[in-house]
Amino acid sequence: MLAATLAISTLAAVFGLLLGYSAVRFRVESDPVVDQIDALLPQTQCGQCSYAGCRPYAEAIAAGEADINRCPPGGEATVLALADLLGRDPKPVEGETKPPSVAIIDEQVCIGCTLCIQACPVDAILGAAKQMHTVIESECTGCELCIEPCPVDCIYMVPIAPDISTWKWPFPAGETQSADREAVSS
């Protein structure tokens, strides 16, 4: 019991230090424009923008190397926000926008190989070697990076069912959806 308590508190302390360290580390390096761009990206870390994650994409945008419409998870809202921030023209999103989803592991089939854990960019998968793994649903960003590595194909993406607290009134029908910003800003 004591050993367990000790182990846990040591772990907590170590993680705390790490978190602190990461905060400091990433702050020190940060460039304010990159930060502002990164703040608008969805942090799915899926790499669909062809960069290694959201921050690398933010860096590429800041450096003028990448367009602002490369992030499918962010969708139109992100393009509009980036256009606003950077004073560029909004463009239609490149790539396929999917409904928000989370990964589910079929625990009967999982062999506990830990490959998915290594792939998950946000540590949303729990499990140890040779033990079945579980996705922490609330932390999963739906990036799909864990699907590929699984040798037994036991990970599925399931769309998040809309519920009353997240349901949204749709854009009124019968009118064009085009964002005519000119008319607004004039």
Binding site: F15, L18, L19, Y21, S22, A23, R25, F26, D38, L41, P42, Q43, T44, Q45, G53, C54, E76, A77, L80, D84, P121, V122, D123, A124, E139, T141, P162, D163, I164, T166, W167, K168, W169, P170, F171, P172, G174, E175, A179, D180, R181, A183, V184
Partner: protein
């Protein structure tokens, strides 16, 4: 002072609408028979959902707690009658989305037995301690019955440093067709007044004003009767001009007190608490009789039902049962609306149950809710701004919402819009303005949610990144240490005393051997020399 007319104020804009109230007020309130099934949603209020504390198969008493809610903003849910819990599952609930949510389904046994479930009545409520009254209001699961369903206990608890000096009671019922508050005041005026006195005991305000639209003469007379005049016990009944939306919280406060609730603020910010007459009555039942909120009066009206009227209904009764109590549909029915024609929303089915916040079921005929003509471009006529009771610029808000420029929409006080529908009602271009505002508000909330989610994901990603680097570094360090250790091993041979000793011994032996050999050689030489 008593005889002096109360000074009334005016809010901006507003509309005179056809009232359509007579249809449903011809007959007295009819207590409904207990339905065959009650579907009681666990979330009927603003705030967190309650959690079921019964299981399928359980027998429940009337008034027994079936949904517990421990969060501050939330409300408990009780069994509307005695019977058996048959299921706890998702069912369609009254919501514009038509989605399902967790409900407790009860099969009534018809006995209406309270068992031990009645809360102990607080007899001396006019001397009771405010905290115990507030606790009772919380325990009884009371929420605002005017429609918003905000937990009442929260509303009457002042935040630190706040004084709530004025209690405003909303009996205005300004929306066309709805007459449940009117009926309640005509039939239970005494209970309403007692409920208001309980609220005064809990809040100790300096004044209390009851606002009732002036066309509701029966309700005004009954309330005067119950109070014993226009003014008594610090409570004053004030008939107000009929003008939609005079029953909006901000508008009623302005009409009665002349005070304006600040933009994005709450009535509490200017020391006012506003409660609906139905809520006051529910509070009276909970305090004086120990009854949690399990029933209410609901108007069933419109050309779509045979016999429009007010019904006393158990919470959780399917709408189809209410329609049956109104003698069924007519051929004209075209749409079911929960609430009134201005602020209500369409229902997908009549299997949906009524909830605490349900004030009206409008079975509308085609002409009641004539679909607006084709949508045309905004001609910037400004009529919408003239009628807006929140003094907004609806046409600007429309442009920003349409362009998804949500920052601008918020700069133009989108969140002060009460969705009263006045602007859309007068718009000559038939633009569904309110839908645009709802869309924009929902998008802003969703973005807020996504932003929070993204922040968590960023933190976790950075943490992982740091952890991987740390592991990488540790691995490198371990490797370096190993290498160093290996190298050290080789060097070590020089200074290890034992090894050195052996080495030295070996060397000595070698030297000795060499010396012996040399001696031998010279001896051999010497042997040979004499012979030579």
């Amino acid at each position: 002072m008593t005889e002096q007319a109360h000074k009334l104020h005016r809010f901006h804009g507003g509309l005179h609408l056809p009232r359509h109230k007579e249809e449903s007020t011809r007959d007295p309130v009819l207590p409904m028979r207990i339905p065959a099934r009650l579907i009681v949603p666990l979330r009927q209020h603003i705030g967190e959902s309650a959690e079921a504390c019964v299981a399928p198969g359980d027998r429940v008493n009337k008034g027994q707690l079936i949904g517990r809610c421990d969060t501050y903003v939330g409300a408990a849910v009780h069994a509307p009658t005695s019977g058996r819990v048959v299921e706890i599952a998702d069912h369609p609930v009254p919501h514009p989305s038509g989605l399902s949510a967790p409900c407790v389904v009860i099969e009534p046994d018809g006995r209406e037995s309270w068992g031990e479930s009645r809360l102990p009545p607080i007899e001396d409520y006019l001397d009771a301690d405010p905290v115990s009254l507030r606790n009772r209001i919380r325990e009884a699961g009371i929420v605002g019955l005017g429609g918003a369903a905000f937990p009442s206990a929260v509303k009457i608890t002042p935040r630190p440093g706040q004084t709530l000096d004025c209690l405003v009671i909303n009996g205005a019922e300004c929306e066309p067709y709805i007459t449940c508050d009117d009926s309640l005041m005509r039939t239970h005026a005494r209970g309403v007044i007692e409920g208001i006195r309980i609220l005064m005991q809990a809040l100790k305000p300096r004044c209390c004003l009851i606002g009732i639209e002036d066309h509701m003469s029966g309700a005004i007379a009954a309330m005067r009767d119950a109070l014993g005049g226009d003014e008594a016990h610090g409570i004053r009944i004030v008939p107000i001009p009929s003008l939609y939306p005079a029953g909006g919280e901000r508008q009623l406060i302005q009409v009665l007190t002349g005070r304006e609730v600040p933009s994005q603020g709450l009535p509490a910010d200017i020391g006012i608490v506003c409660q609906n007459v139905g809520t006051a009555y529910a509070i009276y039942r909970a305090v004086a009789h120990g009854e949690p909120l399990i029933s209410r009066i609901i108007t069933v009206t419109g050309k779509g039902v045979q016999h429009p009227r007010n019904l006393e209904v158990l919470i959780g009764t399917p709408i189809a049962d209410l329609v049956a109590a109104a003698e069924g549909y007519t051929d004209e029915v075209s749409r079911l609306i929960m609430g009134g024609p201005m602020m209500g929303f369409a229902l997908q089915s009549d299997a949906i149950p009524v909830v605490k916040g349900t004030n009206c079921i409008l079975a509308a005929s085609h002409e009641d809710v004539a679909p607006p003509g084709p949508v045309m471009p905004c001609i910037r006529c400004g009529q919408c701004a003239e009628v807006c009771p929140a003094q907004l610029l609806p046409q600007q808000l429309y442009w920003f919402a349409r362009a998804k420029d949500f920052d601008k929409a918020q700069d133009y006080s989108l969140f002060d819009c009460i969705e009263c529908g006045c602007c859309a009602y007068v718009c000559p271009s038939n633009i569904p303005l309110v839908q645009y505002y709802r869309f924009a508000k929902n998008e802003i909330w969703a973005q807020e949610r996504e932003r929070r989610k993204a922040d968590i994901a960023r933190e976790r990603h950075e943490f992982r990144q740091a952890r991987l680097e740390q592991e990488e570094r540790e691995k490198a360090e371990r490797l370096a240490r190993k290498k160093a250790a290996l190298a050290a091993k080789q060097d070590d041979t020089a200074d290890d005393p034992k090894k050195a000793a052996i080495q030295a011994a070996l060397e000595r032996a070698k030297a000795r051997k060499a010396a012996q050999e040399a001696e031998q050689m010279s001896a051999e030489k010497a042997d040979k020399e004499p012979s030579g």
